[in-house]
Amino acid sequence: MTYEQFLKNLADRDERLVVMTAENRAAIRGLPPLLGNRFIDTGITEQTMVGAAAGLALRGRIPVAHALACFLTMRAYEFIRTDVGISGLPVKLVGYVPGLLSEANGPTHQAIEDVAIMRGVPPLNVFCPADFNDLMIGIEKIVLDPRPWYIRYTDKPHAVEHSTEFEIGKAEQFGNGTDVALLTYGEMFRHAFQAREMLEAQGKSVRLINLRTLKPLDEEAVLNALRNCALTVTIEDHFRVGGLYSIIAELALENRVTANVEAIGLDNKWFKPALMADVLEYEKLRAVDLVERIMTRFNALG
């Protein structure tokens, strides 16, 4: 099923659904004739789109609102925080090309602080599927959930066959090794998956956790990893501040857990704009780079 088909089918079944965009139609180009007046394009107006989404939700609708992740979460941040956040109405915010997916656009288009700011809005939840299949496995539960959500959209082909069991706040775990736990989400999942295979080839026992929803978090899976694995690695295409590493640190502190954690992400800088393969190489985020960094840390544990 395509993303458009999903929205169309759900709209047919549920009259509450309306689809919005701030003239970013990439994933929903075919919908206008199918949805009629339940497709609302506000033009290049992220603020008005989010405010109007709140108004529609106030009337009982479930607006699924699309824009580039950076403009959606930052240009319209106060509208998200104030018009969606304070009311807690079920607005679904879908951000395109988050993280590394903006590739060569440059820092203006890089949403690599989006998780930090979206999870900081009290009622807002955060869904970061690993790839298109992972998105489609979870999307219906997210859209029909009565809370507001931020969704890191991806149309990238699947890296692996994902578990079709999807529960909000439940991670997808591969393996149960105790040497290294790889915690990740979104586009970095595929590289983490490859890294896991390479680490296992080197004799390490590894678990890989695709968190799926960063908020709510699968605390049990994360605490298990922190408690039982020699090294926990967070891998994300996000600033280190406020993303998965911060989330893990907060959880560990709350639970009085100390652990060896290697944080792999974007450290206080925007990434080099280029096509994906070159970005990964330049920023040392390929599987081979991840493995090198993880082994260096692992061998230094003593």
Partner: protein, 295 residues
């Protein structure tokens, strides 16, 4: 920009008298809330007549029909004038008058900006430039459902500096939201500076027209004029309506009327008593309380 009335029957003398008396009591409430922490007195007084008129004469909305999808909406985008709303709700019996004594207290939700814990308040506001976008969403939904709700948004004039208002008007025009009415409380002040001395808005009617509105300009303190203007809304098919309500900040209290330094007021109890007298045309008040407070 002369517009003819659509021929709505004028308000009778009794109706006018009732509106005037209600507005006077609302102003008393506003003055009483302007102490022990204070409130945005000037802006509340400028839109008190508008709010009283809309709830008493124009809009089909009350705590009893908030879940009725065909009811009307009044979004107060210039949220700092919420004391006018609290006072009006008290006079309409939507909240008990005594509750206004809870202003700024933690045992209630009657604070400096609107919130939905008070039944009848449509949405959170206070951050300027938000409720026109929100109202666009409501207006879109009413259109989608083929309903004829009135959706009224009161904005400040200084508030129109915020770009999101103009964004929302572009969208309202594009979607032909003739169910939307923007009312500008044109009291000619930003917080502490006259609009025309800082970021001039004039010609405001031309600006609103250029953004697709059909515009009327009225005396925002004249109930007959308000009635004529509001009865004619929607002013046009397929275009949003706008009313520029010419008002006076601090209206009713000559001591603070149109004064740049009387935006947020935190009067002494003695000043409140004198101002209540002044409101009723008895004497004037010498104000010594702090001015130019930033909240």
């Amino acid at each position: 920009m002369a517009h003819d009335s659509n021929g709505a029957s004028p308000l009778g003398d009794d109706a006018i008298k009732d509106l005037q008396e209600t507005a006077l009591r609302v102003r008393e409430h506003i003055i009483r809330m302007s102490t022990d922490g204070g409130c945005f007195t000037g802006a509340s007084l400028s839109c008190a007549d508008l709010i009283v008129y809309l709830y008493k004469q124009s809009l089909n909305v009350s705590p009893g029909n908030l879940n009725d999808p065909t009811r009307d909406y009044l979004f107060l985008s210039k949220g700092h004038d919420v004391p006018a709303l609290y006072g009006t709700f008290a006079e309409l019996g939507w909240i008990e008058r005594d509750r206004l004594k809870n202003h700024l207290k933690t045992n209630d939700d009657i604070y400096w900006h609107p919130n939905r814990n008070i039944p009848g308040i449509e949405y959170y506001s206070g951050s300027l430039g938000h409720l026109l976008p929100v109202a666009v969403g409501v207006a879109l939904d009413c259109k989608m459902r083929g309903q004829n709700n009135k959706i009224v948004v009161i904005t400040g004039d200084g508030e129109l500096d915020e770009g999101s208002n103009w964004e929302a008007l572009l969208v309202a025009q594009a979607y032909k939201l003739d169910n939307l009415l923007v009312v500008v409380d044109r009291n000619e002040f930003q917080a502490n500076i006259r609009t025309e001395d800082l970021i001039p808005l004039e010609p405001l009617d031309k600006k609103l027209e250029a953004f697709g509105c059909v515009v009327r300009s009225v005396d925002g303190h004249d109930f007959n004029a308000l009635h004529t203007a509001f009865s004619a809304y929607p002013f046009s098919q397929e275009q949003p309506s706008a009313i520029i309500a010419r008002t006076v900040r601090g209206r009713g209290l000559p001591s603070i009327e149109a004064r740049a330094d009387r935006w947020f007021c935190n009067f002494t109890h003695e000043e409140v008593e004198q101002l209540l007298q002044e409101l009723h045309g008895q004497g004037s008040t010498t104000l010594t309380s702090e001015t130019l407070t930033v909240r």
